[in-house]
């Protein structure tokens, strides 16, 4: 460490994006007229001024090494005016004003092994969390699971064959940082935490941990003469909320931490109000390095949706129309007692009518 006087930070906050925006976007800010979708992965936006901008969307590995970052910049410099935009699903977008530049740009991108697609009614890039590479509480490795899944779904990313767009997310714990998705693949623990009582007193702020439990299943206790915590295992819902504030309450379990799959999360207000995802499958093995069982369930759901949904129906719209019994029929997924919600407000999720499809 140097002994220089520490430097005071400049609290500049969020930088202004305008300085990094393609000049045609700057010029036509708020003045766009319409867009078209000439081919998968490509968008054409036309402004009131008559200016146009062509977007080429690119899937990457998301966790970029500097070599890949520079390679993406090289493509941007040579073929795309030196500007890059990132979507919220971590795709790279190149922007060009000359339509003649689109095909050479696509060729340069695919030659380097990146994937053009992810627009309109495709399976978009899976939005995911970090996993074992970096997180302190992960039950799985979203990065690896996503790589494995995108290998299998790549044609659905490169083409637009779905009834509407499909947003898939993954999350490495039940906090669900990956967020809502048409399909969400999340860790679901099935056993209470294993407590290392020797460490609790020194590492954990016990009242905080007690307060963190959503079902009040944790209470202070003396174990082997040391202050610790105990879990009422009958009440415990195995959510893992105690693990972040108290790492000695290990929730991750090589065998019993499973994957669960949820469907029908939709953030858009289009047609219906935004919806949360619903449980459809659980007990799926957390099986690195390629998680084939989880991918198989996802592909099965996608297949049923693709075959049966009408144009413009997102997965939630589709199920709203056909009903949940038929969803389970079409996907051959078992319907169990665990699908019936018992959390607060859960009676609102029950069928209080004679609306039944035969």
């Amino acid at each position: 460490m140097s002994n220089d006087k520490p430097r005071s930070p400049i609290e500049s906050g969020c930088p202004d994006g305008f300085q990094y925006m393609h000049p045609v976007m700057r010029k036509n800010y708020g003045q766009w007229k319409f867009h078209e979708h000439p081919q998968p992965g490509v968008l054409r936006h036309v402004a009131n001024s008559g200016d146009e901008i062509w977007t080429v969307r690119v899937g990457t590995q998301r966790i970029l090494d500097v070599f890949s970052l520079r390679e993406l910049c090289d493509i941007g410099d040579e073929f795309a005016d030196g500007y890059i935009h990132f979507t919220i699903r971590s795709n790279v977008e190149y922007l060009v004003t000359d339509p003649a530049k689109v095909e050479p740009l696509i060729k340069a991108i695919t030659d380097k092994g990146y994937i053009v697609g992810g627009t309109k009614n495709s399976v978009a890039m899976i939005s995911h969390t970090q996993g074992w590479l970096h997180c302190d509480i992960p039950g799985t490795d979203a990065s690896g699971a996503v790589k494995s899944m995108m290998d299998e779904l790549i044609d659905e990313f490169r083409n637009c064959n779905m009834p509407n767009r499909v947003h898939i997310t993954t999350s490495c714990c039940q906090i669900n940082c990956g967020g809502q998705g048409d399909i969400a693949i999340n860790i679901q623990h099935t056993k209470p935490p294993k407590i290392n009582h020797d460490l609790v007193a020194n590492i954990c702020e016990r009242p905080t941990v007690v307060a963190r439990c959503p079902v009040a299943a944790i209470r202070p206790a003396m174990v082997n003469g040391k202050p610790s915590l105990e879990v009422d295992e009958k009440k415990c819902i195995c959510c893992g909320a105690c693990f972040p504030p108290c790492p000695p309450m290990q929730i991750n379990d090589a065998e019993h931490s499973k994957l669960a799959i949820w469907v029908g999360g939709n953030h858009s207000n289009a047609r219906s109000k935004p919806t949360f995802q619903k449980l459809v499958a659980a007990g799926i093995p957390n099986n690195p390095p390629r998680w084939p069982e989880a991918t198989a369930v996802v592909k099965n759901i996608l297949q049923a949706y693709k075959e049966d949904a009408q144009d413009w129906e997102r997965i939630n719209d589709w199920i709203e129309r056909i009903g949940w019994p038929r969803f389970f029929e079409k996907t051959n997924l078992p319907f169990t007692k665990y699908h019936i919600d018992n959390w607060r407000g859960s009676r609102n999720s029950l069928n209080a009518s004679t609306h039944i499809r035969f």
């Binding site: 609290e11 078209e36 997180c135 307060a211």
Partner: protein, 421 residues
């Protein structure tokens, strides 16, 4: 000293297949990077990651690392198996706020990459789920040096911990005809008003701003933001009847049926009529701006000109009481003048102040509202009730209503005030 190479048979399997592989990227750093430090760090990282794959467990734990003058912005990571993988035993992530809207020039990306290569692992993500650029992997010393360098050329840390977090906004007015507001302006104005609360975590828990330019909400604001700002309009949507006909004709002889099935009948409030001459009539008074018809016919249908925003509060995911959507607290607010922007910031200040005073530890705004009720929250932040805030009025009769007459009077007074304004 030759770097230690760990066997990674499981990770190697993630190098096959057509999708780009992050493992191949990390290996490139290990094998080809000119800096021996980066080779060693990434080699060690691969070793620990393989160990995680074998045992199906994570081995990072948190700690306390920040930069001089700040209390947050860094995700500290210390390895629990550091003796086996010593070169990556400290592997902190630095959260840096991206430019609003995630726009970059290649030269700026290169500059960031060059800085990171000097002090970190050479691995970065654009962007994490909160919206930060994630510079993944450096030691405590590297954190300060890297921050000092990027801070000099205009980048600042994002939030981590119980604080105002990095904000996010959709692509917006820069490249979308649906945009009804200045997303990036609102994004920067809000989050940069709270830089102190971003950098010095002292709130009950996290607080997120997210801005979407229209009700398609590409930014997931309603689901994920404590304060969601969604662009909308309140005059009539614009209909280009020639383009409506073009869409119908382009589908051939089934065109009319296609748009009846996919536009008219999908309207959630039955506000669309396709007339016999293939013109479209919109009942704008009952349109809820869901965006579906605009999405299907972007050349023919456009938002009106009287733009503004809807503000929702309290969206969040699972911990602790379950997922919550945001709730409308301002049905419509103009965002044209400087005063309009200032009053939005004032509202955000009221929201954060009230929550900072009344939220329990680790309680998000939405959970606090669930606990105390929306009415108490509205009184706390000085916002009047509005029927747009509810899906439907109260169903339970178990409520004490002896203030009814005064409350009804308030409503009529507000109505009279609005009518005379």
């Amino acid at each position: 000293m030759a770097k230690k190479i760990y066997e990674t048979p499981m990770l190697d399997e993630l190098e096959s297949g057509p999708w780009p592989s992050f493992i191949s990227g990390i290996k490139k750093l290990r094998d080809d990077h000119p800096d021996e430090r980066i080779q060693e760090v990434t080699s060690s990282l691969l070793g620990q990651l393989e160990h995680s794959y074998e045992t199906r467990k994570g081995y990072w734990k948190g700690g306390t690392v920040s930069v001089f003058g700040y209390g947050g912005g860094i995700i500290p990571r210390f390895s629990e198996v550091g003796s086996a993988f010593p070169e990556s035993k400290e592997f902190h992530t630095i959260r840096v706020q991206p430019p609003a809207g995630n726009y970059y020039t290649t030269s700026m990306l290169r500059q960031l990459g060059d800085s990171w290569e000097k002090y970190g692992s050479g691995l970065q993500t654009f962007h994490g789920q909160t919206g930060n650029i994630m510079f993944i992997g450096t030691d405590t010393d590297g954190v300060q040096h890297f921050f000092d360098e990027v801070n000099e050329y205009g980048f600042d840390l994002g939030g981590a911990g119980p604080c105002v977090r990095t904000a996010m906004s959709c692509v917006g007015a820069a490249r979308c005809e649906m945009s009804c507001t200045n997303e990036h302006g609102i994004h920067r104005l809000l989050v940069n008003n709270f830089t102190d609360d971003v950098h010095r975590p002292a709130l009950p828990y996290k607080f997120k701003f997210k801005v979407s330019g229209c009700p398609n909400d590409c930014q997931n604001a309603i689901e994920r933001a404590d304060m969601a700002i969604i662009g909308t309009w309140r005059d009539d949507m614009k209909v280009n009847q020639d383009e409506v006909k073009n869409y119908i004709n382009a589908k051939g002889e089934n065109g009319r049926q296609y748009y009846l099935d996919n536009v008219v009948s999908r309207c959630p409030t039955n506000s669309l009529t396709l007339n016999d001459d293939n013109t479209l009539t919109v009942d704008n008074h009952n349109c809820v701006r869901c965006m579906h018809c605009l999405n299907v016919m972007p050349k023919a249908l456009h938002p009106g000109d009287d733009h503004g925003v809807t503000v929702l509060v309290g969206g969040k995911r699972t911990l602790k009481i379950g997922g919550l959507m945001g709730t409308v607290i301002l049905p419509f607010k103009k965002m044209d003048t400087e005063e309009d922007f200032e009053s939005l910031v004032e509202l955000a200040e009221e929201m954060i102040d009230f929550w900072a005073e009344n939220g329990l530890e680790h309680e998000r705004t939405g959970e606090m509202i669930e606990r105390i009720g929306l009415v108490n929250y509205l009184e706390g932040i000085g916002v009047e009730v509005d029927p747009n805030m509810v899906g439907h009025p109260r169903e339970s009769s178990y409520v004490r209503m002896d203030g009814w007459d005064e409350e009804a009077e308030k409503w009529f007074e507000r109505k009279a005030e609005a009518a005379s304004a």
